[in-house]
Symmetry: C2
Subunit: 202 residues, 2 copies
């Protein structure tokens, strides 16, 4: 049974909303979780959820303990007059995960652990990424070619995080962000403009 | 206390050796685990370990439930007369993880979960990859530039696995292996020949 009591906002209210959101995302996926259901589960008024979080994506970022919104990274990729700066995207992606200033990224490791351990968390993350990168002003349009490009860019970014923070393979583990960006940036540039052959070769 | 009884080889002996190896790798890392200690923990003669496994790396592959040895993939990358075929490496990498013929790769997900959840498993995996890709006939020599190239290639491969098997982002999740190889192969080609600038740009 959902709690029906109404509590005033307080020091723990935001944390309780985040905890309730984690459960709703795990059960219903990103698309299936509503702010109303999250409020009900947390025992607070929906208006209070809106007081702390502008929208569902912001709540998901908090529930997954993500360092930032991938849409922000993607938008930085778009330069005035068109074009794409893979190097800038790599550096911003790493900077978001390293914002605590510590060596490594406990946040990335925790995210990787949650997503690898729970198909539901993986589903929610995939839906979240699809929404944030496909709609709402990101550089990707919702067409087939853009899906290929977006998936390939995601694969290189998550692979860098995995190699740098989880496996800690040198020199990727301790190279300055700007150096990693010079190494891997051109990969993103190519993916962003790839006209993908979709037929397997003979 | 380690078990000291000696059991004859049997149906379960191999499984017991693998289980003992998992514990030794978790406690001592890849470098720190010896076949002798693994045999002692399993309560078998070291010769019996050698009966089932040619060397420590083969035992690690079994203990981590890896589908194959990364050295085999790396060696396929080397074509007669030199050169490197990124497309072939991508396709072989995916084929190894999908050898059960099932959609997705439970083995990759299980590996990702173990490595993300245990710093010890991550340490052991890193040491194993360093040994298998740096020594023993792989295409990489043990020099600084080769380390950069190897780490970057690893980052793209593990990122493809993560995107295809864990996050299941389309079209990467269900595209034929040969198609994924055409998309990502040129990335590996570039990394294999990269003369990496190591200074951050100003």
């Amino acid at each position: 049974m959902a709690k029906v009591g109404r509590r005033p906002g307080g020091a723990d209210t935001r944390a309780e909303i985040v905890a309730a959101a984690s459960l709703e995302f795990a059960e219903g996926g990103y698309a299936g979780a509503s702010l109303r259901a999250i409020a009900r589960r947390a025992g607070v008024d929906p208006a209070l959820v809106h007081h702390y979080f502008a929208d569902k994506s912001e709540l998901f970022v908090a529930a997954m303990d993500l360092p930032g919104d991938p849409q922000a990274v993607a938008q930085e990729a778009t330069v005035p007059g068109g074009g794409f700066l893979g190097e800038r995207v790599v550096e911003r992606f790493l900077a978001q995960w390293e914002e605590d200033g510590v060596s490594g990224s406990p946040a990335f490791v925790a995210m990787a652990q949650a997503v690898a351990s729970s198909p539901e968390a993986a589903d929610a993350m995939r839906e979240f990424l699809a929404e944030r990168l496909t709609h709402g002003g990101g550089p990707f349009d919702d067409v087939d070619v853009a899906h290929v490009r977006r998936a390939l860019i995601s694969s290189q970014l998550v692979g860098l995080g995995w190699t740098r923070y989880v496996l800690r393979i040198e020199p990727l583990a301790s190279a300055p962000r700007a150096v990693v960006a010079r190494w891997a940036g051109p990969t993103l540039d190519r993916y962003f403009t790839l006209d993908p052959p979709t037929e397997p070769p003979n």
